[in-house]
Amino acid sequence: MSKRQVAMVMDLNKCIGCQTCTVACKTLWTRREGMEHMLWNTVNTQPGAGTPHGFESMGGGFRDGVAQPGQRPSVEDFGKAWNFNHEEVFFGGKGEISLAADGGKHGKGPNWDEDQGGGEFPNSHYFYLPRICNHCTHPACLEACPRKAISKREDNGIVLIDEDRCKGYRFCQEACPYKKIYYNEVEEVSQKCIFCFPRIDEGVTTACSRQCPGRVRFVGYLDDPEGPIWKFVTKHKVALPLHAEYGTQPNVFYVPPLSPPKIDDEGNPTDEPRIPTEYLVSLFGNGVHDALKTLERERERNKRGEKSELMDLLIARKWLDMFGPFQKHPRDAARNRPIPQNQQKPRAPQQQVSEIRFYTKEEFKKGGRA
């Protein structure tokens, strides 16, 4: 049991599906060889198949405390990183050629059903669901690993894979009900979101939360009554875990989306929300009913000009307040750290990097320099 737990709340009413979080994570953490297909952060359209496709029916987690068998998602399930014929198109000298992914034989990408959603016009609907590793309190991955390669940090509850102990058995992939663990076929180890722990250790929030233009993501300690997480989860009870029935006690929480009213056959608005509440309940549990009522009530209060702590928090006028104790600028954190002896020499001029390139583990450690 960790002494404290860092957690994240994502307000789904504000996510615009821009994937800035995905790119922030991708460029920071998954640029080593074998990580091409890895998106430790994903944003999918709901209702939808998600990433990996159909993850909700791949098993794992716990039922009545008993570990459940699960499937290993394949690279194709996650959505392969496609290769494009840029050379051929731009320099091949063939006028008729057009851009094609994997020679036109590409499968479904990680976000292939973007903006499809559900329902029939005029009641079609969708919302975006960003996902990272849930850094669960009862991590199925940790309990499944025969190598004791997965640990939960005592000081902040971040769940990490020790790549030196991992042997690539992938029981963790099977056991994780959220299917948020990837396998690196080059390095032959499992890899996943690390909740930006080197940043958290320095008082800097995660890259996905800091880069989010929609101010969707709040970060802090779960038990900090002064921080945003405790207020959303415990005080106002508007932030709920995804699929709590998987039994792993996830530490990423979601403020469920409100939606405009459903339109009846005559084109008149009804009392029903466009996004079916039952669907939200299937994702976030029965707490959705009270959470939506609370959100509506507080929104009305705000409209009347009354003070609402919840709305003030959700609006996030003060950006840095979203990150609890993790408000430092990454640059300042880096400045305060002593420069290691072996790096105390003039840096070689940086190469111009104009195309996406995946580095070896050693190159990555040196900041992408050969």
Binding site: V66, A67, P69, A144
Partner: protein
């Protein structure tokens, strides 16, 4: 199990070398590692009722020439290509003390493993001091050559004689124990999900 002394091990590194025909072959009985011994509840639950460790017999022969020791193992169980996990064979040798093979050794009684797997040309040297504890073993120049004939693997693993530190001793004229593990990768076998020889067999090296 006898390790016959030959003039030169080198040609016998090829599992198809006719020289192996004159080397006595012994059958080693294998069985699935007991489910109750699997180290995590997830593995026990997810493999309950699933068949694994199907390799029941291993045909083994070994030779040495005073410098090099080579062991040829043959078994039925070639997995189709493209599966997530490779077919594999491990040879276990006790380093010191009296380790229990089924427990993969103990802190004061380590076991040295030489592991071949079908998707790699190198042999891994590993040391184990208990279930789930295997780590990189002593540096040793090993080789492996494998042939798949129909559904049968023929693998020759070789290493120098001698032994010091964590390198299990193999000395001409002496006896030691030997154990085996086989994984059928096509059946998702990896880690403790495997067939193993229940206990040590005696390995006697000709003087």
């Amino acid at each position: 199990m006898r390790t016959q002394r030959v003039k030169n091990v080198a040609p016998l590194l090829d599992p198809a070398d006719p020289g192996w025909r004159t080397v006595p072959v012994e059958q080693v009985s294998m069985m699935p590692t007991p489910l109750a011994m699997q180290p995590t509840p997830y593995i026990r639950n997810s493999w309950e009722g699933r068949e694994y460790g199907r390799v029941t017999d291993l045909a083994v022969a070994s030779v040495h020439d005073g410098r090099q020791w080579a062991l040829r193992a043959s078994w039925r169980g070639v997995s189709p290509a493209g599966k997530d996990f490779p077919d594999a064979l491990a040879i276990a040798l006790p380093v010191r003390g009296k380790p229990v093979l089924a427990l993969m050794g103990a802190a004061d009684a380590p076991i040295h493993f030489l592991r071949w797997q079908a998707n790699k040309s190198v042999v891994a040297s590993q040391i184990a001091m208990g279930i789930g504890s295997s780590a990189r073993g002593p540096a040793i120049t090993c080789s492996a050559q494998a042939r798949a004939e129909g559904d049968r693997w023929q693998v020759v693993i070789a290493r120098p004689l001698g032994g010091a530190g964590d390198l299990a001793p193999l000395v001409a004229g002496r006896k030691t124990g030997i154990g085996f593990a086989v994984w059928m990768g096509g059946n998702d076998e990896r880690g403790g999900i495997k067939a193993f020889s229940i206990d040590w067999a005696e390995l006697a090296l000709d003087a």
